[in-house]
């Protein structure tokens, strides 16, 4: 890689700083897009913990997003809760419900691996969708739930820029916490499980428990993304929990580069830009999105985050072995 770990941290820091400083100068629509990308980035990063670091390809990540979002909407519309300072309680509840759902699903899913894991998480995700779609009295069915307004507690989250800063705050917090997580001994053991689970087990690790905890943590961050998502759109519909959302999250991680954490964020940004911006410019945006996916998978197995490494390798090949010695 081009950059050392410290260098990477600085790059992320500069980008976040730029996002924070430039916001007031951007147009309202761009702010909306970036906010959306940041929320999806949290979801994608949570999935990366499973896919990239633990080697568990989950197709049910939208379920936790949905649980968080529906919780927010139901509390707001039925109990008038979470529209003031209590918003912070809802954030905590959202994380808890995401984690709790994952804790339940994990009991079924973690025992499987590979394709079976994929299928089980898919099925569990569809259960949540079915619940959202059919439990009319609670979820409003197909019509979904409209949230009357964004919370206000001293500050007005209804303002696009304010909400953006709030989301940016949660994004940075999530990124930092997940970063600490993957650098911790626990995170290392997850990578160990990904590389060779049998060896980890022989070394005395309870790999089931490790995977289970990772699964629950990912669920918690998914729930957080859900709360933010609900207030971004002002509407929660079964569309949030459909399979396509889970697939999107998976593609974001693959596109950005699994096992890199920020890769998920980059993937989210690219997908949001292509889908929401490009679709307003050209009608054939889907081909572009499809093309990007295919090309990435064919030529960039490491995702967009793998590009610097590839460039470096290419350069070294160009320079030849003699040159490298000189350096």
């Amino acid at each position: 890689m081009f950059l050392t770990d410290r260098g990477k941290l600085w790059t992320v820091f500069v980008i976040v700083l730029a996002l924070a400083i430039l916001a007031p100068f951007a147009s309202a629509y761009v702010i909306l897009l970036v906010t959306q990308a940041l929320i999806l980035a949290i979801l994608a990063m949570s999935l990366d913990i499973l896919l990239g670091f633990t080697g568990l390809p989950s197709l049910g990540q939208a379920a936790y997003l949905g649980m968080g979002a529906y919780l927010t909407a139901i509390l707001a519309t039925r109990y008038d809760f979470g529209l003031g300072w209590s918003f912070w309680v809802v954030i905590v509840l959202g994380i808890l419900i995401g984690a709790a759902t994952a804790a339940l699903f994990g009991l079924f899913a973690i025992r499987a691996a590979g394709v079976s894991f994929l299928m089980i998480t898919l099925a569990l995700g569809m259960c949540v969708w079915g619940l959202a779609y059919r439990w009319n009295s609670m979820t409003g069915g197909d019509n979904g739930i409209n949230i009357p307004a964004r919370p206000k507690f001293g500050i007005q989250l209804a303002d696009g820029v304010t909400y953006y800063y709030l989301v940016l705050f949660f994004f940075v917090m999530s990124l930092a916490m997940l970063y600490v997580l993957i650098k911790s001994p626990f995170g290392r053991s997850l990578v160990g499980i990904r590389e060779r689970e049998l060896r980890m087990r022989i070394l005395g690790y309870n790999t089931w428990l490790h995977k289970y905890i990772a699964f629950v943590i990912a669920g918690g961050f998914g729930g957080l993304a859900g709360v933010l998502w609900a207030h971004l759109n002002g509407i929660v519909s079964p569309q949030v929990v459909v399979l396509a959302t889970s697939v999107d999250a998976l593609l974001m991680v693959v596109l950005g580069g699994p096992g890199t954490l920020v890769g998920g964020a980059i993937g989210a940004a690219v997908v949001v830009f292509l889908r929401d911006y490009l679709s307003t410019v050209v009608p054939w945006w889907q081909y572009v999105l499809g093309g990007v996916y295919v090309l990435t998978i064919l030529y960039l197995p490491g995702g967009l985050m793998g590009i610097p490494a590839r460039i470096r390798r290419w350069r070294e090949e160009q320079a030849g072995p003699g040159q490298e010695k000189k350096r």
Binding site: G144, N233, S237, Q239
Partner: protein, 421 residues
Amino acid sequence: MLHKLGGSCSWMVVMGCLALGVSVSRTSAAAEELRIGFVAPMTGGFAQVGKDMSNGFQMYLDEVGGSFAGAKVKFIVEDSEAKPPVAVRKAEKLVLQDKVHMLVGGLLASTGYALAPVSTRQKTVYIASVPSADDLTQRQSADYPYVIRTGWSSSQPSHPFGEWACQQGYKRIVTIGADFAFGYEVVGGFQRAFESCGGKVIQKIWPPLGTQDFGPYIPTLKKDADAIFTLMAGPMSLQFPKQLADAGIKKPVLGGGTSYDEFVLPSMGDEVHGHVSALQYSAALDTPKNAAFVKKYREKYGKVPSYYSESNYTTAQMIHEVFKKTGGKWPGAQKFIETLSKMKFDAVRGPVHFDDMRNPVQNVYIKKIERKKMFGYPNDELWNTVTKTYPNVSQFWNYGKTEFLKQPVYSRDYPPCKFCE
């Protein structure tokens, strides 16, 4: 040379990114521009319906040369993918980036419910030209002061249709309707009206939206029913009558508007012959105005217009009429809604005006499918022949507004199936 090209290309990308950020700060220099944001599905399963919708609007625009009483119309179409969250984002893009004066369109009821809050939040007019969710202009209408509906509310044609069914002498009817909010409202309205004139709905079946195989449902239909009421949507509309005919069921079939509208009718065969449905528009409506509309539309787009096209054509006409009144000036969102909701229109579908909850009061046509020649076209085709017209039907039918609003919105369980066996 190539190098240079590459350079200018990357410059273009940079400029493009800048434009993305900057273009918005440009305010409207010319006051005479009317920007209309049109939200409809342009990709995915409902793309063809979305096309019908935008075609209708576009045709009117072309007819008047792209300007409403001097105001040049900028018509911006955005793809909702028939997904409510996407519709919301596209609507916000239209408002924030393109600074549109109004949003028009939406297809599914869920999209309507999603767009209405955007209009309130952004204080922008939203004209629901197709979404028919009852509560948009009923129990929730106070929440959405900038919403006006130019299409219909789901249960609106169902009420007179229920009464009509009584008059045909049907006593016992089974209903089979797609399992989603729109289905509940169409079936619910029919059931209420049918039962308040003495009929009995003896069975209600709800196959999931998108059902292809009705094999499990058709045999369960009660044999002693006088008629079947169906409400299908999309491809279901095509499958159900075919499979019903294959099962040898010869009972009279009544249907909600979307089961037999002109969007699905050309793909149907003789199995639907004699089926009856109710809606505020039929392409076979025998008026000079409609004949001209159908001919022109068919010439331009190669198909008979559906109510999706008519509704948006009429919406464009209505906006135009308002602008005639204001002298080509945008009157502001509130004033626009006020003016529009007080006007009367001579539309393709017939006379239209609005009630005080901003839902159209209009004719409802009882239509029977017949194979015949129409408007001088050489071939025998299926047409929704109008057999009866209920004039000036309001969304509250003859129940009275306050009385009507006291009951909950039609749902899977309301009205309750008192006579179910």
